[in-house]
């Protein structure tokens, strides 16, 4: 077999069953790739011993008479936001330095129980707050893609380490989480597939909380088929998350027929932004053409409240974050600041949080505190929740009118350079302009690599589906993927 770390999940699964490779061999190939890729900053905590132990167990299971789950023996990376038993889990924050959970998040636990092999914890923006992976305590994760002769690029964020690791073949797939676009934007920047399921599909239990009404875990993979396989393994009802949906998870892979004849694809006019790069506009119309050629009907639609999505998000997400992050107080886990003589408990909180949180996290916690404070709650938070209802209604009406899925660009640009000066925090927030509506409405969304810009950098298109209909969404994405035929890989420089 060729380079085992470059296989898709489906290829590795089939090869394992034919006896052409072993979980240990797959894992060793990934561990070797990880060790030679420190320059990417994708892996924050390597777990080679644990990985080999789990790979050996997976090989035993694969030999047993009973049919092993599809993910058995597949090396995956886990975003640092997921609590993993006995392994550092610090959401890329200094405030969780040294924290080793005594429990496993439901999603990473499901993958583990299915026999997947965790090769390491992956870099991300601190507490998943960011769109460039530059707010991490571990330092930047770097995009394996580069423009010719160009500077180091961001892999996007917040799941930047996951995107970088999958695109650079450090693992076959990775988990991500998506609060405003954190799976789809990095997937688009690195030429991979990223699926954000319907809110409630994946349990949030054991995932460090950012904005609880928006957070959703999902797979980041090389192909749509892999997203179907890994997604199904991550989803399912969990009594430990009260918002987890008690609904059966279908066999998504079996739904990948590529037949989308008669499906109605909506093209929302509000997503055609002023100043949109030509390459993005062309990619979008090319994508619509591909779906049309596959037999779908392309229909212009309107989602009139789109422009209010980002401002609503930047009330709701910081408000929920300020509440969720109140637990980091230096008492039960993580970092505690050194105190001066005479300091009391208030000084302990204030110094611990000042030292432990990075600037972007502090900014969002304080904005959240402000919009929730007495006298402002109705003007900001309640108003934002109502606007959210209007944004959801836009989608409901489109779906009720017969639209099956909606096609948009994933991002307003290709990957941008790391380290550029951003004096206005709002400028960075605009990265999420096409993805954030999906979180506010709780819908499933997927980014598929479809083309490249003039500099050779990957670009993605987003498909948005009806709630709970990930299967149909994945099938449309599968048809788009097949038509686009995106097979480019970054040239290895690391």
């Amino acid at each position: 077999m060729g380079d085992l770390n470059k296989l898709t999940i489906a290829e590795a699964r089939d090869a394992l069953r034919k006896g052409e490779t072993t979980a240990v061999a797959l894992t060793e190939a990934c561990l070797k790739a990880i060790d030679s890729a420190d320059a990417l900053g994708a892996v924050a905590h390597k777990t080679p011993d644990l990985a080999l132990e789990r790979a050996r167990a997976a090989d035993e299971r694969l030999q047993a008479r009973e049919e092993a789950p599809a993910m058995c023996g597949i090396p995956v990376g886990i975003k640092d936001l997921f609590c993993t038993e006995g392994v550092p889990s610090q959401a890329a924050s200094k405030i969780l330095e040294g924290f080793r959970p005594d429990y496993e998040s439901t999603v990473s636990g499901k993958l583990k129980d299915a026999g997947a092999v965790m090769v390491g914890k992956l870099n991300m923006d601190e507490f998943a707050m960011g769109s460039s992976n530059e707010t991490s305590v571990y330092g930047n994760a770097i995009n394996p893609w580069k423009a010719e002769g160009g500077a180091a690029l961001t892999p996007g964020g917040s799941s930047g380490g996951s995107a970088s690791a999958v695109a650079a073949d450090l693992c076959l797939a990775a988990t991500g989480t998506d609060t405003g676009g954190s799976i789809r934007q990095p997937a688009a920047f690195t030429g991979i597939v990223g699926l954000k399921p319907t809110y409630g599909r994946c349990s949030r239990w054991g995932i460090v909380a950012f904005a609880s009404s928006l957070d959703q875990a999902g797979p980041m993979t090389r192909t749509v088929r892999d997203a179907a396989i890994m997604g199904a393994a991550m989803m399912g009802h969990d009594p430990k998350d009260s918002t987890s949906a008690d609904m059966a998870v279908p066999d998504f892979e079996a739904m990948l027929t590529g037949d989308i004849r008669g499906k109605v694809i909506g093209i929302p006019k509000e997503y055609r932004m002023d100043g949109m790069p030509v390459a993005i506009g062309k990619l979008w119309s090319d994508g619509a053409e591909m779906l049309k050629d596959a037999g779908a009907e392309i229909r212009d639609i309107s989602l009139p409240h789109t422009r209010y999505a980002l401002p609503a998000y930047y009330v709701i997400a910081p408000a929920e974050a300020s509440s969720n992050l109140a637990r980091y107080d230096g008492v039960r886990f993580g970092h505690r600041a050194a105190l001066a003589p005479g300091d009391g408990i208030t000084e302990m909180y204030e110094k611990t949080r000042a030292e432990g949180f990075g600037d972007e996290v502090k900014r969002r916690v304080m904005i959240g505190t402000y919009v929730l404070s007495a006298g402002f709650y109705d003007a900001y938070y309640n108003r934002a929740r109502k606007v959210r209802a209007l944004i959801k209604r836009d989608f409901d009406e489109a779906f009720a009118a017969g639209v099956d899925s909606i096609l948009t660009p994933t991002t307003p640009s290709a990957a941008f350079a790391l380290g550029r000066e951003v004096s206005d925090p709002v400028e960075m927030y605009l990265n999420d302009v096409f993805t954030v509506t999906v979180n506010l409405a709780g819908l499933p969304g997927i980014s598929v690599p479809v083309g490249r810009d003039g500099q050779g950098l990957p670009l993605g298109l987003q498909l948005i589906g009806r709630p709970w209909e990930e299967g149909a969404l994945l099938n449309t994405a599968y048809a788009l993927e097949g038509a686009a035929g995106f097979v480019a890989k970054p040239a290895k420089w690391w």
Binding site: G98, R100, D102, G200, P239, S242, T243, A245, D246, H305, R307, Y308, L310, P311, A312, Y314, V315, A326, D329, V331, R332, F333, G334, R336, L339, D343, I345, M348, Y349, E350, K351, R353, A354, F357, K362, R363, V365, M366, I367, T369, Y370, A379, Y380, N382, R383, A384, R385, K386, V387, R388, A389, L390, K392, P425, V426, A441, G442, L443, P467, W468
Partner: protein, 95 residues
């Protein structure tokens, strides 16, 4: 709406994040940029709109009101920066 330095200091205090006095003007400026952006929400008429509560109508699950966990003192304390005699230790709370 404009956030002055005094308001920025009050918000930092409420959030229990120590901000040095010399850093307050920059922070207030950033707050104003973000709040200016959020201000667009005031353009919409939302009087007759109910706030969104869930993706699809879903009734929260109920379970029997019984103890399902416990007796894990060592595990609970294992990650504490300062644990003594089975308790979390903190600086003096009451004078």
């Amino acid at each position: 709406m404009s956030i002055d330095i005094e308001t920025a200091a009050r918000v930092a205090k409420l959030a229990r994040i120590k901000v040095e006095d010399e850093d307050l003007p920059v922070l207030a400026g950033e707050f104003n940029a973000i709040l200016g952006f959020i201000e667009q929400l005031q353009q919409l008429d939302v009087d007759d709109v109910d706030p969104m509560t869930s993706v699809t109508p879903m009734r929260l699950k109920r379970r029997a009101d019984v103890v399902t966990d416990g007796n894990q003192q060592a595990k609970v304390l294992a990650n504490a920066p300062d644990a003594r005699e089975g308790f979390f230790a903190v600086p003096k709370v009451v004078e």
